[in-house]
Amino acid sequence: MTAPIEAAWAALEELTDPEIPVISLRELGILRDVRQGADGLEVVITPTYSGCPAMGQIEDDVKSTLANAGIAARVVTQLAPAWTTDWMSEEGKAKLHAYGIAPPHQTPAGSNVVRFIARPARAETVPCPLCGSANTVESSHFGSTACKALYKCLDCQEPFDYFKPY
């Protein structure tokens, strides 16, 4: 790694998700790469959900952070390979858990649509991030943001968010 690339990674490390301020863009898997392009430094980010309203904010945050650090770089948005929650780092998942959001399960390998429909996510349990109980139930597929589902713990009675596998 050359010095400017390391400097860019270091500067961007402090950037967190606008909706979930405990997890960094790198830990979320949104910040994909910092590389030397033909016209200088390139920072590669990938959008999460197509309709995520935070993406514009994230791109602005990346640009202003780089500018404040005096780093000249272009922000490149890359769609493929599509972002997946499997890219979330283990430390990132631990931070989500501590924040009260159940971290995502691994996406099912080679999942296809028909099997997905035939065998809905009943098999997987989502432990309560507050008391640890596995006795939880989904109250809605969609929570406060597209990336989360709403769950309820039947032991401690607390509602909580589950970051859905994507």
Binding site: S50, G51, P53, V113, F116, I117, A118, H141, F142, S144
Partner: protein, 260 residues
Amino acid sequence: MKPAIDYLLHLADNALVLGQRNAEWCGHGPILEEDIALSNVSLDLIGQARLLYQLVASLKGGNCTEDRLAYFRDTHEFRNYTLLELPHHGPLSGYAQSSMDYGTTIVRNFLYSALMALLWEALEKSANADLAAIAGKSLKEVRYHLRHSRDWLVRLGDGTDESHARVQAALDHLFPYTQEFWAQSPAEAQAIAAGIGVDVTTLQADWDAIVDAALAEATLVRPPVGGYVTEGKQGIHSEHLGFLLAEMQSLARAHPNGSW
């Protein structure tokens, strides 16, 4: 390039028009969780439409932008399935009052999501790499949309007498519109020949399997199809699209080139 543009607009308009329709539930959902769910589904759909419009704009070049495509085209230029522009209720006559019927919304979302779960997966192999990338993202989203609408289809169909009757009536009303899925348009034929598009008739057996399994679980009867095959994807729309566009486009047209 033209085959790609026409085909991409068809996919984009589908997503935008259904996204706009579903968003009409925002603040009016039958329960808070469903209000939020439909709004999230709309966000996904409008996001998919934006990615596709951005791609069309880059292919067209000039001063074309995603906003121009969404806000400054008229009814006959839209290429969405007629199914997606219909209001949230069955046909009305005389002095009948319209109302928002959640069963109609759920049936429409189920029929469309079942198709798109298959179509996006097939489009991951499109010769257009940008479309393939958008398909890869959209597939992950439509699986959640399908799961959501299918769960509610079963809950309403296998629910009370009232919910069963309403969702069956919605199915009877909407099902004939799915004939449009399988009637190939010239734009689709060109996109298939160019390797960009997918022949949806190859997905029909899988779609039937998804639909029939869900209907059986929901104790609903699959209605017969027949009669007029709608041609929304060729720009020939019902009377409902104009009202939808008027509401959606009025702000952008009142303040052209405005930014906020």
